[in-house]
Amino acid sequence: MKVTKEAIAGTLESSDLLVKVAPSARGTRDIVIRSEVIKQFGKQIKHVVTDTLDKLSVSGGSIVVEDKGALDCVIRARVQAAVLRACECKELEWEHLS
């Protein structure tokens, strides 16, 4: 999927996260993760974000995550929502969202 515009998903509330997606000028995929629990769970959060993006075939775009201690399933859902908005996706391929 191609990121064609800017989009956000999520909130700043505790146990949630805010995901910001934008087209990247260089066409690369740049992921930046900020988390209140980066020391404990930074690696795992990065893994979930990367895996979710891979399943949606997002190869380019700037992805910024402001995490407030969200569970993996929440991270996955918010990243998916932000990407689908940013790609102006009309038809969902449900198997890629599992």
């Binding site: 956000i8 700043l12 509330e13 505790s14 930046v32 900020r34 700037s62 407030k68």
Partner: protein
């Protein structure tokens, strides 16, 4: 136990009663209501206004939470609401002004500090990497040399005065970097202003022309600049803009001097020049000082050339007198864009 808390959006211009409540909440927090704000997110708890956050294009300001409501999750909800309001209005790259002591609070909103005017204000943006990426793109344009100059032009429109300034600077420098203010808040559109500057400096070899950015005299970094026709001058806003230039843009390109025309007419621009010497040259900073070089304005018939004067003559379609003030490329553009027979008397 759980009192009803309600968030909604208010356009202060259309809702005088809401506006008065907002003004009172801000006053209790030593803040003034900024009339540039187009929309507020407000929060009421059992009817009482307990929190607000204003949005002026891409800039969040006038954020306040009632004292007895702090320390709960209310402020994070407020942050989420205003970020979503901005997104709904097509604004994703956001800036935020805060008093320096509230910086940690807005870090929780996902905002990162760019520059601080000590004891006055901090400018933050909602990306930990956007400025770094912008500076990377500038660094790719670096040029070798002993003296590297920088100029920022609004060029509304490009005159022989601008041409003289750029020409003098280019002669004195090994390389000159010229930025055109991007904000579309002037009589001439950004695209037209940029095209006229490009046409007017085409023959100068040691120069790079840049499109403007959110970080150079934009509505976000220097709101007062675009209010100058109304005579509103906010000196600390100029400081924010100048510190961005000193701390990020100048180091990225190796700019060691900034050129500026002397300003005999316009109070805001003149005050900007004075501020420029202070913030670029005199204030201590982690980055080396940028020398401000003020070049006396070029004049025509004994009067300094200014874009203000060109716009005044243009209103009268006085192309005879405009011809003495602008290069041929600008004159051609003005004549085609403002036909004489359309003059409204």
């Amino acid at each position: 136990m759980n009192a009803t808390v309600e968030f909604y959006t208010v356009q202060p211009k259309d809702a005088p009663a809401e506006r008065e409540d907002i003004r009172r909440l801000l006053a209790a927090n030593d803040l003034e209501l900024d009339d540039q704000i187009e929309a507020f997110v407000v929060c009421r708890r059992e009817g009482r206004l307990v929190a607000c956050a204003g949005l002026d294009h891409a800039t969040i300001k006038c954020v306040a939470v009632a004292e007895d409501m702090r320390g709960e999750s209310l402020s994070l909800d407020l942050g989420s609401e205003v970020i979503h309001l901005a997104a709904a209005r097509g604004q994703f790259h956001l800036f935020l002004y805060s008093a320096p002591h509230n910086l940690p609070f807005f870090r929780g909103w996902g905002f990162y500090p760019l520059v601080e005017v000590p004891e006055r204000v901090v400018l933050m943006e909602n990306s930990p990497v956007a400025m770094e990426r912008y500076c990377d793109s500038l660094r790719a344009q670096r040029r070798p040399g002993q003296t590297i100059g920088g100029i920022v032009l609004n060029a509304n429109p490009f005159t022989l005065g601008h041409r003289y300034l750029v020409d003098q600077a280019a002669r004195a420098c090994d390389w000159l970097h010229v930025f055109v203010v991007k904000e579309d808040a002037s009589l001439f559109s950004y695209a037209d202003r940029y095209a006229l500057v490009a046409a007017g400096v085409k023959d100068i070899d040691n120069l790079t022309l840049y499109p403007g950015s959110d970080y150079i005299i934009s509505r976000a970094t220097f709101p007062g600049y675009f209010l100058k026709d109304k005579g509103i001058v906010e000196s600390s806003w100029a400081a924010v803009d100048l510190l961005l230039f000193r701390d990020y843009i100048a180091p990225a390109l190796g700019i060691d001097r900034r050129y500026v025309g002397s300003e005999p007419f316009d109070a805001v621009t003149n005050s900007y020049n004075v501020q420029m010497k202070h913030w670029l040259q005199q204030t201590p900073s982690g980055e080396r000082p940028v020398t401000v070089v003020e070049i006396p304005r070029a004049s025509s018939g004994g009067v300094a050339i200014s874009a203000t004067e060109v716009r005044r003559l243009l209103a009268q379609r006085d192309f005879g007198r405009i011809a003495a003030l602008v290069p041929a490329t600008t004159l051609q553009f003005l004549e085609s864009k403002f036909p004489v027979n359309h003059t409204v008397q």
